[in-house]
Symmetry: C2
Subunit: 243 residues, 2 copies
Protein backbone atom coordinates (compact mmCIF):
# COMPACT_ATOMS: atom_id res chain seq x y z
CA UNK A 1 0.00 0.00 0.00
CA UNK A 2 1.16 3.48 -0.78
CA UNK A 3 1.79 6.36 1.58
CA UNK A 4 -1.05 8.70 0.81
CA UNK A 5 -4.15 10.24 2.31
CA UNK A 6 -6.11 7.07 1.77
CA UNK A 7 -4.23 5.47 4.63
CA UNK A 8 -5.07 8.24 7.10
CA UNK A 9 -7.39 7.60 10.01
CA UNK A 10 -8.67 9.79 12.83
CA UNK A 11 -6.74 9.01 15.99
CA UNK A 12 -8.17 9.83 19.40
CA UNK A 13 -6.56 9.69 22.78
CA UNK A 14 -8.33 8.95 26.07
CA UNK A 15 -6.99 8.85 29.59
CA UNK A 16 -8.18 6.79 32.53
CA UNK A 17 -7.11 8.93 35.49
CA UNK A 18 -7.31 7.02 38.74
CA UNK A 19 -6.81 8.14 42.29
CA UNK A 20 -7.66 6.91 45.76
CA UNK A 21 -9.52 8.61 48.55
CA UNK A 22 -11.25 7.85 51.79
CA UNK A 23 -14.97 7.62 51.54
CA UNK A 24 -16.27 9.68 54.43
CA UNK A 25 -18.50 7.80 56.81
CA UNK A 26 -21.02 9.43 59.14
CA UNK A 27 -19.52 8.66 62.49
CA UNK A 28 -16.09 8.13 63.89
CA UNK A 29 -16.81 4.59 65.02
CA UNK A 30 -17.28 3.45 61.44
CA UNK A 31 -14.54 2.47 59.02
CA UNK A 32 -13.72 5.10 56.45
CA UNK A 33 -13.52 2.92 53.35
CA UNK A 34 -10.89 3.77 50.81
CA UNK A 35 -11.19 2.90 47.19
CA UNK A 36 -10.55 3.96 43.63
CA UNK A 37 -11.93 6.93 41.84
CA UNK A 38 -11.85 7.83 38.17
CA UNK A 39 -12.08 11.28 36.61
CA UNK A 40 -14.98 11.71 34.19
CA UNK A 41 -16.16 14.64 32.12
CA UNK A 42 -19.63 15.33 30.78
CA UNK A 43 -19.41 15.73 27.04
CA UNK A 44 -20.30 18.96 25.28
CA UNK A 45 -19.61 17.76 21.72
CA UNK A 46 -22.36 16.86 19.31
CA UNK A 47 -21.88 13.13 19.77
CA UNK A 48 -22.82 11.58 23.11
CA UNK A 49 -23.79 15.05 24.30
CA UNK A 50 -24.16 15.26 28.09
CA UNK A 51 -22.91 11.72 28.49
CA UNK A 52 -20.10 11.08 30.95
CA UNK A 53 -16.85 10.05 29.30
CA UNK A 54 -13.12 9.84 29.85
CA UNK A 55 -11.14 13.00 29.23
CA UNK A 56 -9.60 12.88 25.79
CA UNK A 57 -9.73 14.17 22.26
CA UNK A 58 -8.07 13.88 18.92
CA UNK A 59 -4.36 13.44 18.63
CA UNK A 60 -2.52 16.43 17.28
CA UNK A 61 -0.59 15.35 14.20
CA UNK A 62 2.30 17.53 15.33
CA UNK A 63 2.66 15.98 18.77
CA UNK A 64 3.97 12.65 19.96
CA UNK A 65 1.44 10.29 21.48
CA UNK A 66 2.75 10.47 25.04
CA UNK A 67 3.44 14.17 24.70
CA UNK A 68 -0.12 14.74 23.58
CA UNK A 69 -1.50 12.77 26.52
CA UNK A 70 0.71 14.65 28.97
CA UNK A 71 -0.53 17.87 27.50
CA UNK A 72 -4.19 16.93 27.95
CA UNK A 73 -3.48 15.74 31.45
CA UNK A 74 -1.82 18.98 32.43
CA UNK A 75 -4.61 20.97 30.84
CA UNK A 76 -7.29 18.94 32.56
CA UNK A 77 -5.81 18.27 35.99
CA UNK A 78 -3.03 20.81 36.29
CA UNK A 79 -0.43 18.23 37.17
CA UNK A 80 2.46 17.00 35.13
CA UNK A 81 4.31 14.64 37.41
CA UNK A 82 2.07 11.58 37.31
CA UNK A 83 2.51 7.93 36.54
CA UNK A 84 1.48 7.49 32.91
CA UNK A 85 1.28 4.26 30.98
CA UNK A 86 -0.08 3.36 27.59
CA UNK A 87 -2.95 0.93 27.96
CA UNK A 88 -4.17 -0.30 24.62
CA UNK A 89 -5.38 0.91 21.26
CA UNK A 90 -9.06 0.45 20.51
CA UNK A 91 -9.92 0.04 16.88
CA UNK A 92 -11.64 -3.25 16.16
CA UNK A 93 -15.09 -1.76 15.99
CA UNK A 94 -15.46 0.40 12.89
CA UNK A 95 -18.42 2.25 14.33
CA UNK A 96 -17.18 2.81 17.89
CA UNK A 97 -17.51 6.50 17.07
CA UNK A 98 -20.75 7.42 15.29
CA UNK A 99 -18.97 10.17 13.35
CA UNK A 100 -16.80 7.73 11.43
CA UNK A 101 -13.74 5.56 11.71
CA UNK A 102 -11.74 6.52 14.76
CA UNK A 103 -9.17 4.53 16.63
CA UNK A 104 -8.28 5.52 20.15
CA UNK A 105 -5.01 5.11 21.99
CA UNK A 106 -5.91 4.81 25.67
CA UNK A 107 -3.59 5.73 28.52
CA UNK A 108 -3.80 5.22 32.24
CA UNK A 109 -2.65 7.82 34.76
CA UNK A 110 -2.29 7.32 38.49
CA UNK A 111 -2.47 10.42 40.63
CA UNK A 112 -2.48 11.39 44.27
CA UNK A 113 -5.24 13.63 45.49
CA UNK A 114 -2.82 16.09 47.04
CA UNK A 115 -1.18 16.70 43.69
CA UNK A 116 -4.55 17.39 42.18
CA UNK A 117 -5.33 20.53 44.13
CA UNK A 118 -5.31 22.54 40.91
CA UNK A 119 -8.14 20.47 39.46
CA UNK A 120 -11.43 22.29 39.29
CA UNK A 121 -14.28 19.93 40.03
CA UNK A 122 -17.73 21.01 38.93
CA UNK A 123 -20.90 19.60 37.41
CA UNK A 124 -19.07 18.65 34.21
CA UNK A 125 -15.80 17.37 35.66
CA UNK A 126 -15.98 15.04 38.62
CA UNK A 127 -14.52 12.08 40.46
CA UNK A 128 -16.62 8.94 40.45
CA UNK A 129 -16.24 5.96 42.73
CA UNK A 130 -15.80 2.61 41.05
CA UNK A 131 -18.01 -0.33 41.85
CA UNK A 132 -16.58 -3.45 40.27
CA UNK A 133 -17.88 -6.86 39.35
CA UNK A 134 -15.21 -9.54 39.22
CA UNK A 135 -14.90 -13.10 38.01
CA UNK A 136 -13.54 -16.00 40.06
CA UNK A 137 -9.99 -15.00 39.22
CA UNK A 138 -10.70 -11.51 40.55
CA UNK A 139 -10.50 -9.93 37.12
CA UNK A 140 -12.86 -7.04 36.63
CA UNK A 141 -15.59 -7.88 34.13
CA UNK A 142 -17.89 -4.93 34.69
CA UNK A 143 -17.83 -1.59 36.42
CA UNK A 144 -20.29 1.10 37.42
CA UNK A 145 -19.71 4.65 38.60
CA UNK A 146 -21.27 6.60 41.42
CA UNK A 147 -20.83 9.85 43.28
CA UNK A 148 -20.66 10.19 47.01
CA UNK A 149 -23.95 11.17 48.57
CA UNK A 150 -25.83 11.10 45.28
CA UNK A 151 -28.24 8.56 43.89
CA UNK A 152 -26.73 8.83 40.41
CA UNK A 153 -25.22 5.57 39.15
CA UNK A 154 -23.65 5.30 35.70
CA UNK A 155 -23.77 1.85 34.19
CA UNK A 156 -22.06 2.93 31.01
CA UNK A 157 -19.97 5.70 29.52
CA UNK A 158 -19.69 7.25 26.08
CA UNK A 159 -18.05 5.23 23.26
CA UNK A 160 -16.20 2.16 24.57
CA UNK A 161 -14.83 4.13 27.49
CA UNK A 162 -16.22 1.73 30.07
CA UNK A 163 -14.12 -1.03 28.58
CA UNK A 164 -11.06 1.20 28.86
CA UNK A 165 -11.69 1.63 32.58
CA UNK A 166 -12.12 -2.13 32.99
CA UNK A 167 -8.87 -2.76 31.11
CA UNK A 168 -7.08 -0.14 33.18
CA UNK A 169 -8.03 -1.71 36.48
CA UNK A 170 -7.07 -5.17 35.31
CA UNK A 171 -3.75 -3.77 34.17
CA UNK A 172 -2.84 -2.29 37.53
CA UNK A 173 -4.20 -5.38 39.26
CA UNK A 174 -1.65 -7.45 37.38
CA UNK A 175 1.10 -5.02 38.27
CA UNK A 176 0.34 -4.19 41.85
CA UNK A 177 1.96 -7.30 43.31
CA UNK A 178 5.31 -7.09 41.58
CA UNK A 179 5.78 -3.35 41.08
CA UNK A 180 5.35 -0.25 43.20
CA UNK A 181 2.39 1.26 41.31
CA UNK A 182 0.21 1.49 44.43
CA UNK A 183 2.34 4.29 45.77
CA UNK A 184 1.45 6.44 42.76
CA UNK A 185 -2.07 6.48 44.16
CA UNK A 186 -1.15 7.25 47.77
CA UNK A 187 -0.64 10.61 49.45
CA UNK A 188 2.77 11.41 50.89
CA UNK A 189 1.86 10.12 54.33
CA UNK A 190 -0.41 7.16 54.84
CA UNK A 191 -1.15 4.45 57.34
CA UNK A 192 -0.54 0.77 56.66
CA UNK A 193 -4.28 0.25 56.76
CA UNK A 194 -4.88 2.95 54.12
CA UNK A 195 -2.31 1.36 51.87
CA UNK A 196 -3.74 -2.10 52.42
CA UNK A 197 -7.27 -0.94 51.63
CA UNK A 198 -6.20 0.55 48.30
CA UNK A 199 -4.10 -2.53 47.58
CA UNK A 200 -7.08 -4.78 48.23
CA UNK A 201 -9.45 -2.55 46.26
CA UNK A 202 -7.19 -3.07 43.25
CA UNK A 203 -6.69 -6.78 43.76
CA UNK A 204 -10.28 -7.53 44.60
CA UNK A 205 -9.52 -9.80 47.51
CA UNK A 206 -8.18 -9.70 51.04
CA UNK A 207 -4.50 -10.17 51.73
CA UNK A 208 -3.02 -11.51 54.95
CA UNK A 209 0.02 -10.31 56.83
CA UNK A 210 0.09 -7.20 54.73
CA UNK A 211 2.79 -5.49 56.77
CA UNK A 212 5.08 -8.45 56.11
CA UNK A 213 4.33 -8.35 52.38
CA UNK A 214 5.27 -4.76 51.75
CA UNK A 215 8.42 -5.23 53.82
CA UNK A 216 10.59 -2.15 53.76
CA UNK A 217 8.92 -0.52 50.79
CA UNK A 218 7.60 1.88 53.41
CA UNK A 219 9.43 3.88 56.03
CA UNK A 220 7.82 4.81 59.30
CA UNK A 221 7.76 8.51 60.12
CA UNK A 222 7.39 10.00 63.57
CA UNK A 223 3.87 11.17 62.73
CA UNK A 224 0.74 9.40 63.88
CA UNK A 225 -2.97 9.74 63.18
CA UNK A 226 -5.07 11.54 65.76
CA UNK A 227 -8.73 11.91 66.48
CA UNK A 228 -9.77 8.31 65.83
CA UNK A 229 -11.66 6.46 68.51
CA UNK A 230 -8.94 3.85 68.87
CA UNK A 231 -5.20 3.42 69.00
CA UNK A 232 -3.48 5.90 66.68
CA UNK A 233 -1.75 4.53 63.60
CA UNK A 234 1.78 5.39 62.55
CA UNK A 235 2.14 7.29 59.29
CA UNK A 236 4.47 5.89 56.67
CA UNK A 237 6.19 7.14 53.53
CA UNK A 238 7.06 5.30 50.34
CA UNK A 239 10.59 3.98 50.46
CA UNK A 240 11.69 4.02 46.85
CA UNK A 241 14.16 1.26 46.19
CA UNK A 242 13.19 -0.77 49.23
CA UNK A 243 12.41 -4.45 49.00
Amino acid sequence: MEFNDYTKISVANDVVILTSEKEIQDNKRTVAKQGLQVLLVKRTDSTYTNTWALPGGFVDADKGLTECTMHKLKEKTGLSNVYLEQLKTYGDNLVRDPRGRVISVAYMALATKQGLSGLEVNDRTAWFWLSMKRDNKHNVVDVSFYKEGEDLVLNDLAFDHKQMVIDAINRIKNKVEYTDVVFSLMPRYFTIRDLQTVYEAILGYQVYSFRRRIGNKVIQTNKVTTGDAHRPAALFEYNQGGK
Copy 2:
Protein backbone atom coordinates in the same frame (compact mmCIF):
# COMPACT_ATOMS: atom_id res chain seq x y z
CA MET B 1 -10.94 19.69 18.54
CA GLU B 2 -13.26 19.04 15.62
CA PHE B 3 -13.78 15.85 13.69
CA ASN B 4 -12.20 16.64 10.36
CA ASP B 5 -9.34 15.69 8.10
CA TYR B 6 -6.90 17.69 10.14
CA THR B 7 -7.08 15.05 12.86
CA LYS B 8 -6.22 12.21 10.51
CA ILE B 9 -2.93 10.40 10.77
CA SER B 10 -1.38 7.52 8.85
CA VAL B 11 -1.71 4.35 10.85
CA ALA B 12 0.56 1.39 10.25
CA ASN B 13 0.42 -2.09 11.60
CA ASP B 14 3.39 -4.37 12.25
CA VAL B 15 3.53 -7.92 13.50
CA VAL B 16 6.23 -9.65 15.50
CA ILE B 17 5.77 -13.28 14.50
CA LEU B 18 7.67 -15.60 16.79
CA THR B 19 8.21 -19.32 16.64
CA SER B 20 10.57 -21.87 18.10
CA GLU B 21 12.77 -24.39 16.39
CA LYS B 22 15.70 -26.62 17.09
CA GLU B 23 18.99 -25.27 15.90
CA ILE B 24 20.66 -28.11 14.08
CA GLN B 25 24.05 -29.04 15.42
CA ASP B 26 26.68 -30.94 13.47
CA ASN B 27 26.84 -34.17 15.39
CA LYS B 28 24.46 -36.28 17.39
CA ARG B 29 26.49 -36.01 20.56
CA THR B 30 25.86 -32.27 20.74
CA VAL B 31 22.79 -30.60 22.19
CA ALA B 32 20.35 -29.35 19.58
CA LYS B 33 19.67 -25.90 21.01
CA GLN B 34 16.16 -24.60 20.75
CA GLY B 35 15.35 -20.95 20.74
CA LEU B 36 13.19 -18.23 19.33
CA GLN B 37 12.93 -17.10 15.76
CA VAL B 38 11.26 -14.06 14.29
CA LEU B 39 9.93 -13.62 10.76
CA LEU B 40 11.51 -10.75 8.85
CA VAL B 41 10.97 -9.40 5.35
CA LYS B 42 13.38 -7.44 3.21
CA ARG B 43 11.71 -4.20 2.21
CA THR B 44 10.97 -3.33 -1.42
CA ASP B 45 9.40 0.08 -0.74
CA SER B 46 11.20 3.32 -1.41
CA THR B 47 11.99 3.89 2.28
CA TYR B 48 14.46 1.59 3.99
CA THR B 49 14.79 -0.27 0.71
CA ASN B 50 16.44 -3.68 1.09
CA THR B 51 16.45 -3.32 4.87
CA TRP B 52 15.04 -6.16 6.95
CA ALA B 53 11.83 -5.26 8.76
CA LEU B 54 8.78 -6.74 10.42
CA PRO B 55 5.91 -7.70 8.13
CA GLY B 56 3.30 -4.96 8.15
CA GLY B 57 1.79 -2.10 6.28
CA PHE B 58 -0.82 0.58 6.50
CA VAL B 59 -4.10 -0.06 8.21
CA ASP B 60 -7.06 -0.26 5.89
CA ALA B 61 -9.62 2.34 6.99
CA ASP B 62 -12.37 -0.17 6.27
CA LYS B 63 -10.98 -2.95 8.46
CA GLY B 64 -10.79 -3.38 12.21
CA LEU B 65 -7.33 -3.34 13.73
CA THR B 66 -7.23 -7.01 14.71
CA GLU B 67 -9.01 -8.02 11.51
CA CYS B 68 -6.40 -6.15 9.51
CA THR B 69 -3.55 -7.85 11.35
CA MET B 70 -5.14 -11.27 10.90
CA HIS B 71 -5.49 -10.56 7.22
CA LYS B 72 -1.82 -9.66 6.86
CA LEU B 73 -0.81 -12.69 8.85
CA LYS B 74 -2.84 -15.02 6.69
CA GLU B 75 -1.50 -13.39 3.55
CA LYS B 76 2.08 -13.60 4.75
CA THR B 77 2.20 -16.93 6.56
CA GLY B 78 -0.85 -18.76 5.31
CA LEU B 79 -2.13 -19.49 8.77
CA SER B 80 -5.11 -18.09 10.57
CA ASN B 81 -5.24 -19.99 13.84
CA VAL B 82 -2.46 -18.33 15.79
CA TYR B 83 -2.12 -16.64 19.13
CA LEU B 84 -2.42 -12.92 18.47
CA GLU B 85 -2.04 -10.13 20.98
CA GLN B 86 -1.81 -6.38 20.67
CA LEU B 87 1.56 -5.17 21.88
CA LYS B 88 1.76 -1.42 21.93
CA THR B 89 1.28 1.62 19.75
CA TYR B 90 4.40 3.47 18.67
CA GLY B 91 3.95 7.13 18.04
CA ASP B 92 6.14 9.26 20.28
CA ASN B 93 8.72 9.92 17.63
CA LEU B 94 7.32 12.20 14.94
CA VAL B 95 9.94 11.16 12.43
CA ARG B 96 10.00 7.40 13.05
CA ASP B 97 8.94 7.13 9.42
CA PRO B 98 10.91 9.39 7.05
CA ARG B 99 7.87 9.84 4.83
CA GLY B 100 5.91 11.70 7.49
CA ARG B 101 3.92 11.26 10.65
CA VAL B 102 2.98 7.62 11.06
CA ILE B 103 1.93 5.79 14.18
CA SER B 104 2.16 2.04 14.27
CA VAL B 105 0.03 -0.42 16.19
CA ALA B 106 2.25 -3.43 16.85
CA TYR B 107 0.98 -6.95 17.38
CA MET B 108 2.67 -10.13 18.48
CA ALA B 109 1.85 -13.52 17.01
CA LEU B 110 3.03 -16.87 18.30
CA ALA B 111 3.12 -19.71 15.82
CA THR B 112 4.18 -23.31 15.63
CA LYS B 113 6.46 -24.32 12.80
CA GLN B 114 4.21 -27.17 11.73
CA GLY B 115 1.33 -24.77 11.16
CA LEU B 116 3.59 -22.66 8.98
CA SER B 117 4.11 -25.18 6.20
CA GLY B 118 2.34 -22.85 3.78
CA LEU B 119 4.92 -20.12 4.35
CA GLU B 120 7.26 -19.58 1.48
CA VAL B 121 10.72 -18.75 2.72
CA ASN B 122 13.08 -17.11 0.26
CA ASP B 123 15.73 -14.40 0.10
CA ARG B 124 13.20 -11.70 1.02
CA THR B 125 11.20 -13.55 3.67
CA ALA B 126 13.10 -15.50 6.31
CA TRP B 127 13.28 -16.69 9.87
CA PHE B 128 16.02 -15.14 11.98
CA TRP B 129 17.36 -16.40 15.26
CA LEU B 130 17.29 -14.00 18.16
CA SER B 131 20.34 -13.21 20.18
CA MET B 132 19.38 -11.23 23.25
CA LYS B 133 21.15 -9.00 25.70
CA ARG B 134 19.47 -8.82 29.09
CA ASP B 135 19.75 -6.72 32.23
CA ASN B 136 20.10 -8.11 35.75
CA LYS B 137 16.35 -8.62 35.98
CA HIS B 138 16.51 -10.69 32.79
CA ASN B 139 14.64 -8.10 30.78
CA VAL B 140 15.74 -7.86 27.18
CA VAL B 141 17.50 -4.57 26.47
CA ASP B 142 18.91 -5.33 23.05
CA VAL B 143 18.58 -7.94 20.36
CA SER B 144 20.35 -8.97 17.22
CA PHE B 145 19.29 -11.27 14.42
CA TYR B 146 21.16 -13.98 12.58
CA LYS B 147 20.55 -16.78 10.14
CA GLU B 148 21.68 -20.34 10.59
CA GLY B 149 24.88 -21.12 8.78
CA GLU B 150 25.36 -17.59 7.54
CA ASP B 151 27.69 -14.88 8.71
CA LEU B 152 25.01 -12.21 8.38
CA VAL B 153 24.12 -10.52 11.65
CA LEU B 154 21.54 -7.73 11.81
CA ASN B 155 22.05 -5.28 14.63
CA ASP B 156 19.07 -3.19 13.66
CA LEU B 157 15.90 -3.26 11.62
CA ALA B 158 13.96 -0.67 9.65
CA PHE B 159 12.03 2.04 11.55
CA ASP B 160 11.72 1.26 15.27
CA HIS B 161 11.03 -2.38 14.55
CA LYS B 162 13.88 -3.61 16.71
CA GLN B 163 12.24 -2.01 19.72
CA MET B 164 9.01 -3.80 18.85
CA VAL B 165 10.81 -7.13 18.94
CA ILE B 166 12.39 -6.25 22.29
CA ASP B 167 8.99 -5.27 23.69
CA ALA B 168 7.42 -8.45 22.35
CA ILE B 169 9.92 -10.71 24.06
CA ASN B 170 9.59 -8.86 27.35
CA ARG B 171 5.85 -9.17 27.06
CA ILE B 172 5.86 -12.94 26.68
CA LYS B 173 8.56 -13.19 29.33
CA ASN B 174 6.18 -11.57 31.79
CA LYS B 175 3.39 -13.88 30.75
CA VAL B 176 5.15 -17.19 30.41
CA GLU B 177 5.10 -18.03 34.11
CA TYR B 178 1.45 -17.46 34.81
CA THR B 179 -0.21 -18.26 31.50
CA ASP B 180 0.06 -21.02 28.91
CA VAL B 181 1.56 -18.92 26.09
CA VAL B 182 4.58 -21.22 25.66
CA PHE B 183 2.42 -23.88 24.15
CA SER B 184 1.51 -21.54 21.30
CA LEU B 185 5.13 -21.85 20.24
CA MET B 186 5.42 -25.60 20.55
CA PRO B 187 4.64 -28.30 18.00
CA ARG B 188 1.90 -30.79 18.81
CA TYR B 189 4.33 -33.31 20.29
CA PHE B 190 7.37 -32.22 22.24
CA THR B 191 9.71 -33.48 24.92
CA ILE B 192 9.96 -31.92 28.36
CA ARG B 193 13.46 -30.81 27.49
CA ASP B 194 12.26 -29.05 24.30
CA LEU B 195 9.60 -27.23 26.27
CA GLN B 196 12.04 -26.29 29.01
CA THR B 197 14.55 -24.93 26.51
CA VAL B 198 11.98 -22.65 24.91
CA TYR B 199 10.72 -21.65 28.36
CA GLU B 200 14.23 -20.74 29.43
CA ALA B 201 14.98 -18.96 26.16
CA ILE B 202 12.03 -16.68 26.89
CA LEU B 203 12.80 -16.16 30.55
CA GLY B 204 16.52 -15.69 30.06
CA TYR B 205 17.55 -17.87 32.97
CA GLN B 206 17.62 -21.49 34.04
CA VAL B 207 14.72 -23.02 35.94
CA TYR B 208 14.98 -25.94 38.31
CA SER B 209 12.63 -28.87 38.70
CA PHE B 210 10.92 -27.92 35.49
CA ARG B 211 8.78 -31.06 35.32
CA ARG B 212 7.36 -30.19 38.74
CA ARG B 213 6.63 -26.63 37.65
CA ILE B 214 4.56 -27.39 34.61
CA GLY B 215 2.67 -30.01 36.60
CA ASN B 216 -0.14 -31.52 34.58
CA LYS B 217 -0.22 -28.85 31.92
CA VAL B 218 1.23 -31.57 29.74
CA ILE B 219 0.00 -35.09 29.07
CA GLN B 220 2.37 -37.89 28.25
CA THR B 221 1.67 -39.72 25.00
CA ASN B 222 2.86 -43.21 24.14
CA LYS B 223 5.33 -41.80 21.62
CA VAL B 224 9.03 -41.43 22.30
CA THR B 225 11.95 -39.87 20.49
CA THR B 226 14.28 -42.15 18.57
CA GLY B 227 17.69 -41.91 17.04
CA ASP B 228 19.37 -39.95 19.82
CA ALA B 229 22.56 -41.28 21.33
CA HIS B 230 20.98 -41.57 24.76
CA ARG B 231 17.85 -42.64 26.54
CA PRO B 232 14.77 -41.74 24.47
CA ALA B 233 12.49 -39.02 25.76
CA ALA B 234 8.75 -39.31 26.10
CA LEU B 235 6.69 -37.02 23.90
CA PHE B 236 4.05 -34.87 25.54
CA GLU B 237 1.05 -32.88 24.44
CA TYR B 238 -0.39 -29.66 25.84
CA ASN B 239 -3.09 -30.38 28.37
CA GLN B 240 -5.39 -27.42 28.07
CA GLY B 241 -7.06 -26.67 31.36
CA GLY B 242 -4.51 -28.57 33.43
CA LYS B 243 -2.85 -27.02 36.42
